[in-house]
């Protein structure tokens, strides 16, 4: 009898202890609420990471950041969204390249309900072109624009502002050198004009245009020529890559590659182009605006402080960027939204911009302090953002679209077929894509 009583007491004590322990654990868990974010290793991610302690302090939510390179990012995201239990609460999506799959596959959730419930989030501050790119699809908001990497034209001020060069150009072509208002044809002409031997050793040492014709990077490089000449991939739902503008753009692109780009350019990716420009080999480069940061870093670049920023030739450039999204299988969607609404709040967006982040909001571009600090860059962005065209039309098979165009552009660049033939064949294949 006595032993039974002792056993009962021991069991009761154990039960009470277990309950107390579980209570302590759950309180601890609530205190240590956390979210996981997957980010690419780029400067804009770094600016966010630097500010994360502010979010953690304000909300008590711990933020775990997983950083990865672009090369493996999509594979990681895909495996995550295809698994039943997701690992990430917040992800960033490369727009427009991945949006077709992420939206159509319902891999990310609509954010409209969250937006309605969060008065501090004002969608009106974003440029409509940014929302078309990395925000709203068929009237549903899936992402909040994070940063953009629209394309611009960079020129070397020590070359293109040299009075001798300007005088020579005027004498040769009968007009002033005006990079803010160049047509695509004029750009190729200028690039060839600037390709020269500056030290008199009989070898060209400055190239008029640094280009990126390596597979997978050809698409955006060439698309600037195409858009700049008024081309569009679709007109009334019909593929029009093989229009007059398309063929002309490809012929001009090949002309620039042959006569104004460094030897070996066929192997240039964006990283190689960045290196070549940083080494002082180029006079101009049409590229993503984020390259301005590393090119202006004196530790990495010989041309730091010598770069002008202009809209792309023809005035209509490629638009691309990243958007914040919540995967369908995010462990804590509410906390994820809390983070997104914080990181895209006016205050944090401004702080990121002050560090050098690429803005997507009108209020940031119109901020007096920021406009002073980044005068040339912001004035160009104000021209570029409203007219920029998403690199790829919104469709399910966007990546296949890009690869198909790349393959045929490559075939023309290798001389396997004419520009017209390559684009006609591309058009035939593109018309089958969904």
């Amino acid at each position: 009898m006595k032993s039974k009583a002792i056993l009962a007491r021991a069991l009761t004590t154990a039960l009470v202890l277990a309950m107390a322990l579980s209570l302590v654990t759950s309180v601890q868990a609530a205190k240590e609420k956390s979210i996981t974010i997957l980010l690419e290793t780029v400067p804009d991610s770094e600016y966010v990471i630097r500010l994360i302690p502010e979010f953690e302090k304000a909300t008590g939510i711990k933020v775990n950041v997983e950083k990865t390179t672009f090369m493996v990012m999509r594979d990681k995201l895909m495996t995550n969204v295809l698994s039943g239990r997701g690992q990430y609460d917040v992800i960033v999506v490369d727009a427009p390249f991945w949006t077709g799959q992420f939206v159509n596959g319902r891999w990310i959730i609509p954010l409209d309900d969250y937006i309605k419930e969060t008065p501090s989030v004002d969608m009106g501050v974003y440029y409509p072109s940014m929302l078309d790119l990395a925000g709203v699809f068929d009237g549903v908001t899936y992402m909040l624009p994070f940063y953009q990497y629209n394309m611009v034209m960079l020129t070397r001020s020590d070359i293109v502002d040299d009075p001798k060069i300007r005088k020579e150009y005027k004498a040769k072509f009968g007009k002033e050198l005006d990079f803010d208002n160049l047509s695509v044809e004029e750009y190729v002409q200028v690039a060839k004009f600037l390709t020269r031997d500056t030290n008199g050793d009989g070898k060209v040492d400055i190239w008029g245009s640094i280009m990126t014709p390596k597979k997978s990077d050809t698409y955006c490089d060439w698309a600037n020529y195409f858009f700049g000449l008024g081309g569009d991939f679709y007109t009334n739902k019909k593929v029009t890559i093989n229009s007059q503008a398309g063929v002309k753009a490809l012929n001009l692109y090949m002309d620039a590659l042959k006569n104004a780009a460094p030897a070996g350019s066929m192997g240039f990716s964006f990283d190689d182009a960045l290196n070549a420009m940083a080494q002082g080999q180029g006079a101009t480069m049409v590229t993503f605006n984020w390259m301005l940061g590393p090119l202006n870093d004196p530790a990495k670049s010989k041309v730091a402080g010598k770069l002008n920023v202009h809209p792309v030739p023809g005035g209509r450039g490629v638009s691309a960027g990243w958007g914040w999204a919540i995967p369908w299988n995010a462990p804590d969607k509410d906390a994820a939204w809390q983070f997104i609404s914080w990181v895209e709040s006016a205050k944090i967006a401004r702080q990121r911009a002050l560090m050098g982040g690429a803005p997507t909001r009108r209020d940031i571009l119109e901020d007096p302090e920021l406009s002073r600090k980044f005068a040339a860059y912001y004035s160009t962005l104000k021209k570029v953002l409203p007219t920029a065209v998403p690199a790829i039309p919104m469709m399910l098979e966007q990546i296949r679209f890009e690869d198909t165009v790349n393959d045929y552009l490559g075939a023309a660049l290798l001389g396997e077929m004419s520009a017209e033939d390559a684009l006609n064949r591309a058009a035939k294949e593109l018309s089958r894509l969904r």
Binding site: R74, D75, M78, L82, Q101, N104, G105, P213, K214, K215, S216, P262, A263, G264, S265, M266, G267, F268, D272, N275, A276, Q279, Q281, L396, E397, I399, R400, D403, N406, D407, Y408, G410, A411, L413, L414, G415, E416
Partner: protein, 298 residues
């Protein structure tokens, strides 16, 4: 006490053997057969990551798509060229190295411990290193050729050189392994036929051609089989060096499968191409294994 009849004994040992085999067979079935059958099943559907719950049976449509697709035929061709060139060069160079070392066995251990390093390095790292070596402006390859007056080229970006450059990297990486296999074969050959040939007045070339070569052939065929199976599945160095470009001049079948399966989310099509690749590998293995066995019998 009852004594077991031979029939009973045989039955008992058969049950014992079965008892030991069953766990392995179950593991093998679950780990190999089930995924394989699932892949074959998927190749007859229109399964996609975009709408995984809506997949339907489509018969042999994916296989027809593959055979009609320009990309697939191109990848098949590129894979064939890549396999023939790399395995051929690796075998020839490996044999030269092995023959050179046979007469200097004292140094072979030290030599192989250094020479095998490329084989130990992960292919992704190998790819990254060679991407820099081949870099159009910063690469040492163009620099050295420049000293000889050869103009700068984009080795990985030009149609005429891209596949050749990828082959070169593979040959650099895997020749040591082939050399080691052939060396092991050479040092274990009986010496009597060679000595007899010398006594009969055969020249060194004749000894090599009519004695060493026939004796080493089964080992060489084994090395070719192992390397060819690997070459047919090569993915990593292409992924790092060229992403299949320029255009799709270096797109091997495994990269084609990755492109369609993972990038385009056309998973069922990718599984169909995987099945075709598997069938190709099985046929190739069967033919080469038969050749090896015939050699051994002869």
């Amino acid at each position: 006490m009852m004594t077991e009849t031979p029939v009973h004994q045989r039955k008992r040992s058969a049950y014992t053997a079965l008892g030991f085999l069953v766990p392995s067979l179950v593991i093998l079935g679950v780990a190999v057969l089930v995924p394989l059958l699932y892949v074959i099943y998927l190749s007859f559907t229109d399964y996609s990551f975009i709408a995984p719950t809506q997949s339907q049976f489509v018969g042999i449509r994916n296989y027809i798509d593959a055979l009609w697709q320009r990309d697939f035929r191109n990848s098949l061709w590129v894979t064939t060229i890549f396999t023939v060139v790399t395995v051929g060069l690796e075998t020839i160079l490996g044999l030269i190295v092995a023959l050179a070392l046979r007469t200097r066995q004292r140094y072979s251990r030290a030599f192989f411990s250094v020479y095998l390093m490329p084989t130990i390095i992960t292919p992704i790292s190998t790819g990254l290193v060679w991407a820099y070596i081949f870099h159009p402006t910063l690469g040492v390859f163009n620099y050295l050729l420049g000293l000889l007056g050869v103009p700068t080229r984009a080795w990985l970006g030009e149609g005429g050189t891209a596949l050749l450059s990828v082959c070169l990297v593979d040959v650099w990486e895997w020749t040591p392994l082939v050399a080691l296999m052939l060396y092991a074969g050479l040092v274990s050959l009986p010496q009597e036929p060679v000595e007899a040939a010398h006594v009969d007045g055969a020249t060194r070339w004749q000894v090599f051609r009519y004695v060493t070569m026939p004796l080493i052939k089964p080992v060489a065929l084994g090395a070719v089989l192992i390397r060819a199976l690997d070459a047919l599945k090569t993915f990593d160095i292409v992924y790092v060096l060229t992403s299949g470009g320029p255009s799709n001049r270096t797109e091997l079948l495994s990269f084609h499968i990755y492109r369609h399966g993972f990038l385009y989310a056309r998973f069922s099509y990718a599984t169909a191409v995987s099945v075709l690749l598997l069938v190709g590998i099985l046929v190739f293995t069967f033919v080469l294994a038969r050749m090896t066995m015939n050699e051994e019998k002869a």
